[in-house]
């Protein structure tokens, strides 16, 4: 997952992540990408479109 620099660390993505994989710090955001099933719900709810699926 690509976290854009305008992310505001509000945590909405963490709250809807069905696998509890997103850790929001004060000014950073950590994904546990190994366990991510790419359901994309976090991308969908972001109020400022700060998450983007990595192309690989």
């Amino acid at each position: 997952m690509i976290v854009k620099e305008w992310c505001m660390y509000c945590g909405e993505c963490a709250g809807v992540c069905p696998r509890n994989l997103i850790e929001i710090r004060e000014i950073s955001l950590k994904f546990n990408e190994d366990k991510c099933k790419e359901c994309n719900i976090c991308v969908q709810v972001c109020p400022v479109q700060a998450l983007e699926k990595r192309d690989d």
Binding site: E12, G15, V16, E23, V48
Partner: protein, 393 residues
């Protein structure tokens, strides 16, 4: 390893209230918050009812009250306004617009004065059970530590990670999470500067837009949307609303806030062995208005009291803590069910229907009309109100 009776994770209003009441009940309490400054940035429109603060026994301070709001103004998509102003109706929900950055700190200070130890810039990173207690791993300014607690109160907001570590289903579906964006603005020209203002319809699909006055020409201007029914982000909807609304088109932002608001109704199971979930993490938010400061604090108070009692009992099992679910249901859950119904109805209305309803009510003298008369009027113009709201009245 640090040890304590009660560890509260998150020092928002719910967490601080829980900490305060746990400490007042005789428990040893530690509160951690991941941020360097409690209450910042706000993720909230900052409105509370006067009755709510009174019920909580909070002493009012001019340092965190930005403005008193005495009325409500509701605006339909075509701009028709229904004004419930003080001269027209006595509102039970009259309230204050807070300065959350100050308010949240004051609530945490109250917890500290009651005896709680507060650790800022301290993030919970994991949790495990050990000898009938909970060990929470935390990081504080680069230091990794462990805190062993008899009871953990999870007040970690809409992220709600801690409850899930305990096996509770605190994750939300996108349809139960309003995606919100808000500017604090100056130069706002409100038609009724003493009213909190709501705008309904496609301006905010699945939610509503608000303008909450903070005194002078300052206001919180925001909206919440359901991302399941719109392709635009909350922020994009906000920009459109601000540009098109007469009150805000000349206003300037000084702050942007975003975040999720859990509006699906009270989380049913908020208790596990050694763990209580409270505040936004337990969806202690009025599903109709999205307001959750007072309800979160009411829930937090119950959590603190139940935790202190369990410490006194020496029993932190689910069985001994589960009274918390029942007490929260009585305090919040019952009314939330009604608000959910009302929300369903509101969200079922098209822009045209909203305009028609506003047109019928715009000149009503609310002092002389009683609730049943209002409902009769509503059903006449919007027959499905009977079906959707009938049981509530």
């Amino acid at each position: 390893m640090m040890e304590t009776d009660v560890l509260v994770i998150g020092a928002g209003p719910a967490g601080s209230t829980a900490a305060k009441h746990a400490a007042m009940g005789g428990a040893q309490v530690i509160v951690i918050d991941k941020k360097s400054e409690i209450g910042t940035p706000k993720r909230c429109a900052e409105g509370v009812s006067k009755d709510g603060l009174k019920e909580l026994g909070i002493e009012l301070s001019p340092r965190w009250i930005a403005k008193e709001a005495t009325g409500v103004r509701m605006v339909s998509p075509n701009g028709t306004a229904v004004n419930l102003t003080e001269d027209k109706v006595k509102l039970p929900e009259a309230g204050y617009i807070l300065e959350r950055k100050v308010f949240d700190k004051f609530m945490a200070m109250d917890a500290g004065r009651a005896g709680a130890q507060i650790m800022v810039k301290t993030l919970a990173t994991g949790m495990r059970m050990e000898d009938d207690q909970v060990v929470v791993t935390v990081e504080s300014m680069g230091q990794k530590m462990e805190i062993k607690a008899k009871i953990v109160i999870a007040a970690d907001g809409p992220e709600s990670r801690v409850g899930r570590w305990a096996g509770l289903k605190t994750a939300l579906k996108p349809k139960d999470m309003e995606s919100c964006a808000q500017f604090e603005m100056a130069g706002v020209e409100m038609a009724e500067p003493d009213c909190i203002e709501f705008h309904f319809g496609t301006v905010a699909p699945g939610g509503y837009a608000w303008i909450f006055p903070k005194g002078d020409d300052i206001a919180n201007v925001g909206l919440g949307v359901l991302t399941t029914i719109t392709d635009k982000t909350a922020y994009e909807h906000l920009l459109e609303f601000v540009a098109s609304n007469p009150a805000t088109k000349n206003a300037q932002p000084v702050e942007l806030n975003v975040g999720g608001d859990p509006v699906g109704g009270l989380l049913k199971k908020k208790v596990a062995d050694n763990v209580l979930v409270t505040g936004d993490a337990a969806s202690m938010v009025n599903p109709l208005t999205g307001g959750g400061i007072i309800s979160g604090m009411l829930g937090g108070r119950i959590a603190g009291q139940v935790a202190a009692q369990a410490v006194a009992d020496g029993d932190y099992s689910h069985k001994n803590l589960k009274v918390y679910d029942k007490l929260c249901e009585d305090e919040l859950g019952e009314s939330f069910k009604k608000y959910l119904k009302a929300k369903e109805y509101l969200l079922s209305l098209s822009d045209e229907e909203l305009d028609d309803i506003a047109d019928v009510f715009k000149d009503s003298d609310f002092e002389t009309i009683n609730t049943s008369e209002m409902v009769r009027k509503l059903i006449k113009i919007s027959p499905k109100a009977l079906l959707k709201l009938g049981k509530l009245f």
